[in-house]
Subunit: 374 residues, 2 copies
């Protein structure tokens, strides 16, 4: 295989980091995005086109060895068209599942995961009935196209029913039990084309206003609980014939892991792997979709990540600590937009926490970087 | 500084790896190379032009924040022209010095380094006289445009004078004392725009047929010897007002370091830093030339690198060991051509050696990857 070409549907930061990882391996990347300034275009060939434009998609696919996705809301029809020209990894079913929260919960449940109590809501009357009947708080969510806390409304009492419906009504909806969780945990795994699955250490996440704020790994998780979750995940991946990186987000409550969401792609909560694991999630995704052996997922130390959301301090300021790893995506700052992240990796937990606190203080000091999301 | 643009004269693998490091920091790169298939063009904007084409160089420079070089034989005039449009880092003097081995030796000597005994050779008679007078073996070298052992001829007796002259005569030449060395060591440092200099751990190198074969770091070097060499290097960099990464190659003989060559750029012997140091040489060069604070040069463990020269085993084979880091440059295989390298980084020296031996065996097995150089 000499100089293979990887196609990526979507040209955002995940596509950019996939392209950077691919380049290390001598693999060229071509990204497809409607935006002419898509940030992955800085480091890969960018083909601009609408996800509805079948002929542009066909031209994009010409000469590719494989095609993958970088955001889970890529229109299923676009992925399907690409998949008619060139192998699509992960496959269409996996992509489709993650786009419908109800379907997703079903798949997670069948794999043996506990999930938050949930029901479909198709009308205002449905919502009224459910809210009257169920323990509050409840979280109303669109079944499709939600991310970073978008498309969600809390329902803490009957008084919230009408405003929530006004915001989200008209879309297929899901009503989740609000979970009082102790921690948010994500599990990130990679399944190779030969069925081998490898697992990154568990990750503890903190969100702010619906957007990931920090990740830390390895997160201490009870060994039996972890082993069971990994077996369930492998079972699910085997059934789907999944190839590539997948992320599962969990609420941990009283030692129990409740599976909340899956992302059939590289995931923000594993950005620390670029500087904190032997092989980054991006390289492992590239390896998986190209049918190459997977790399070690071992952590290099105590790793952490802080997202840069909306705006960021000057690069000079972020780089003052000689031991942090700054990643900027080349995107224009905008409220609620992920424009970069900072990784740390230290020999012990205390050093990691010290560095993350110092960085957190710098970020808090620099404008309203966590505000304005929405 | 929002989305700065870095210009790189030369579009080979060093330019490619600089562009990859720049992209992490949100910095766009533009490379200049005569070859339309220059491998850095896969990950950066490529401007094709001859190094003699002043107007193409001027167009290349438009909109750049800074310009640097990726190979030390970039024509000085081209660097000078670029430097008239945009800050050139490192500066013209540093680039010019490294292009003339005689001048280079003078600069190294003035910085206090011991160097191999050497003299200029301008005629066949000069060569005959010197060979009669001096202890053999001697190494005849072109003063300009040598790299990877090119432009060199050994003179072990008077019988070698005519053939050596036939090969190299007509160029300005240098006649070096052949050094019976114990080890080859390189020192790689980075000087920031504020004059701060940081040092990577010393590196031990093994060449084959004039081409770097392996590097290992940190190499044990006597602490006093190392401290002195670093002071001398800092002194030299300060005098030159140097900005960026620099590499010095030494012969170690009886505990003494003899400075042989300098490279005013990122260097093959520090490729291990991508996976084996907190901050790679590429990122630190980008930081330096953009006036940003430098990153930690601390090794993450026992690091090593093997070059892939001429040809490489299939990628699948190289990736069989889940813990190695494969870097391919996207270049067509050709005898004597550097097409990639493999990094290892382990917690102890023994594991590093085990992995490097195994890799070496794979490479030896795959065709004549070290033969055909020249």
């Amino acid at each position: 295989m000499s100089k293979p070409v990887l196609g990526i549907l979507g040209g955002g930061q995940l596509g950019r980091m996939l392209a950077l990882a691919a380049a290390r391996l001598g693999v060229r990347s071509r990204v497809y995005d409607p935006a002419p300034d898509a940030c992955a275009g800085d480091v890969a060939q960018l083909v601009c086109g609408s996800f509805e434009d079948e002929s542009a998609l066909a031209r994009f696919c010409a000469g590719l060895d494989v095609v993958t996705i970088e955001f889970e809301n890529v229109p299923v029809r676009a992925a399907e068209i690409a998949g008619q020209h060139v192998p699509l990894r992960p496959g269409l079913e996996s992509i489709a599942i993650a786009q419908d929260r109800l379907h997703e919960r079903g798949v997670l449940g069948r794999a043996g995961f506990a999930t938050p109590v949930s029901e479909a809501i198709d009308s205002l009357q449905d919502l009224r009935d459910a809210v009257a009947r169920r323990e509050k708080p409840l979280l109303l969510k669109t079944r499709r196209l939600g991310y970073d806390g978008k498309g969600q409304a809390w329902v803490r009492s009957v008084a919230d029913v009408e405003p929530a419906w006004a915001r989200l009504g008209g879309h297929p909806l899901l009503l989740d039990q609000g979970v009082r969780f102790d921690r948010e945990i994500s599990l990130v795994a990679v399944r190779g084309s030969d069925g081998t699955t490898v697992h990154y250490p568990p990750i503890e996440n903190v969100h702010r206003e619906g957007i990931l704020w920090t990740s830390r790994a390895p997160a201490p998780v009870d060994a039996k609980t972890l082993a069971l979750a990994r077996r369930q995940l492998e079972h699910m991946l085997d059934r789907l014939g999944y190839v590539g990186v997948i992320a599962l987000e969990f609420f941990e409550t009283g030692g129990l892991l409740l599976a909340n969401e899956m992302a059939p792609r590289v995931h923000n909560s594993a950005h620390w792997t670029v500087d904190g694991a032997r092989t980054s999630q991006f390289e492992n995704h590239v390896r998986a979709v190209l049918g190459l052996p997977l790399g070690s997922t071992e952590a290099r130390g105590w790793a952490g990540m802080l997202n840069l959301v909306g705006t960021a301090p000057p690069l000079e300021r972020l780089l003052e600590d000689e031991s942090v790893h700054v990643h900027l995506y080349g995107k224009e700052p905008r409220a609620g937009r992920k424009i970069g992240h900072v990784n740390v990796c230290e020999a012990d937990e205390r050093s990691r926490e010290a560095r993350m606190s110092a960085l957190g203080a710098i970020l808090e000091g620099s404008n309203a970087h966590v505000r304005g999301a929405g």
